[in-house]
Amino acid sequence: MPVSISPQGQPRWRLRTSRAQWLGYLAWLIGACLFLLCWKMISDNTMWVFVADAGRQGGDLISRMLPPDWHYAHRLWKPMWDTLNIATLGTLLGIAMAFPVAFLAARNTTPHPLIRSLALGLIVSSRSINSLIWAMLLVTILGPGVLAGIIAIALRSIGFIGKLLYEAIEEIHPTPVEAISATGARRLQVMSYGVLPQVLPAFAGISVYRWDINIRESTVLGLVGAGGIGLQLNAAINSLAWSQVSVIFLMIFVTVLASEWISARVRHAII
């Protein structure tokens, strides 16, 4: 740690050198300027008249939401079942596609560096694009319905599961792999007896974790027409039936909490 001499000739301990200190101040200054510039741009594009009204609007919204229209809940069981199906089947389809991609993307199992960069590109593009955008695209291609939702969830899951799984594969212990190869096993046999048992717990954990995230995401896919409870939500909001909206919100809240609890328990049991 640097020492400076005070005017009285006493040595003083300091956390940073003067140079590091000034560079730190400069970084903060640039950060603050950038933030203020961005805030200015947003503030220019905002109608502050509406914002001044926000408190009253919010109160109005809550008074319309309460009490929730409980009779409406009967009509929500089928959409909720659809939502669960979109999340579960989408996750299964995503797993099926992500599994080979992860093996192609891991440095120690890929057949060729060129294939590896291709697989990594696939993982990045799947991860960058939100499932709602995939759904929007698939609804224009396949038409509205549950199928578009399932495929959208699956496409988004490839990147997530693929990334975490290929990192797990790269971290495996090399000795079991060497032991299996030493017996004269073929490439696929080495994968199946040397690599797979080591990544299976991580893989199961990742899949359950993604299933839990997918439940959350599939509740909104209906906003762009891809089936599930989001369709009901969209209809209720468009007809300004806020007492129905609050029932849907409660239902989503309970489902997501339940799925999060299940996923935490399963992951705890596996790992």
Partner: protein, 279 residues
């Protein structure tokens, strides 16, 4: 399964192996649980697949559009809607930065309050419920409510993303604080430090590196989300993307998607550098 059964099983496995019929251990040890889960999964799959209605005529009709879309990726059109795209991307980027800064600044007190080892029970419960509400609802649902309250435009988007950031950052920060090294806190307290000084000299140095890493990660997530919440009118590139898709202008959509992927890649590259620099 008790120990005797396990020993029994190990003996049978050895006997099988000596005759060359070795099989690997199953993933789920108890055969009853294994079969129950297998049958349960099969029944669920049958029920789920039966309840899906697919309009195959519509799907067949859409296949030519799918080909169009794939073709558009080979020749994306950045030019014909250039002004809309530039405006949208700039708005998305400004929203990302502002909302991350505001969100992280608000998440730090909430995260401190949600750590059981430094917060009293009432504050802990309040902060935990804020985190749960913020994490349960998708950004887009929150965006709908904030658009109703604050009107169309990027401000509603910024508030939405900041709210979502609070839940994400505060949860991870609280978990980090809950398993910090308690001896350092005791050492600082033993010098007679106040609460504020304890936070600043014992807690903050232990969680800072991870906090910066998580903020960079959240910056990346917020950019991806800002591409979506435009669909409900909360500003950003999402509105442009939505319009181009519903007009079947796939070449413009492809251009926007490619830009999003490029920005996310840049963000990831930058954040890995910042993380190496801070640690």
């Amino acid at each position: 399964m008790n120990r005797e059964q396990l020993a029994d099983q190990a003996f049978t496995r050895e006997a099988l192996a000596s005759t060359g019929r070795w099989r690997r251990l199953p993933f789920i040890a108890d055969p009853k649980v294994r079969w129950a889960m297998g049958i349960g999964a099969a029944v669920y799959l049958a029920l789920a697949l039966a309840s899906i209605e697919v309009n195959w005529e519509r799907v067949a009709e859409g296949m030519s559009r799918a080909l169009n879309f794939l073709g558009a990726f080979t020749q994306p059109d950045f030019l014909s809607r250039r002004d809309d795209i530039i405006d949208g991307i700039l708005e998305s980027l400004t929203m990302t930065l502002t909302s991350t800064v505001i969100g992280v600044a608000l998440a730090i007190p909430v995260g401190l309050g949600a750590a059981r080892n430094i917060a009293p029970l009432p504050i802990y419960l309040v902060c935990r419920s804020i985190i749960t509400v913020s994490r349960t609802f998708q950004e887009i649902i929150i965006a709908i409510l904030f658009v109703v309250m604050f009107g169309f435009g990027p401000l509603a988007g910024v508030i939405t993303l900041a709210f979502a950031t609070i839940g994400f950052m505060a949860k991870l920060l609280a978990e980090d604080i809950e398993d910090l090294d308690w001896r350092q806190v005791e050492a600082i307290r033993a010098t007679g430090a106040s609460w504020w000084q304890t936070m600043n000299h014992a807690v903050q140095p232990q969680v800072m590196a991870r906090l910066i890493g998580l903020s960079m990660y959240r910056l990346d997530i917020n950019f991806r989300e800002s591409a979506v919440i435009g669909i409900v009118g909360a500003g950003g590139i999402g509105a442009t993307l939505n319009t181009s898709m519903s007009r079947y202008e796939y070449d413009t959509s492809a251009a926007i998607l490619l830009i999003i992927i490029a920005v996310v890649l840049l963000c990831e590259y930058g954040s890995s550098h910042v993380r190496r620099w801070t640690q």
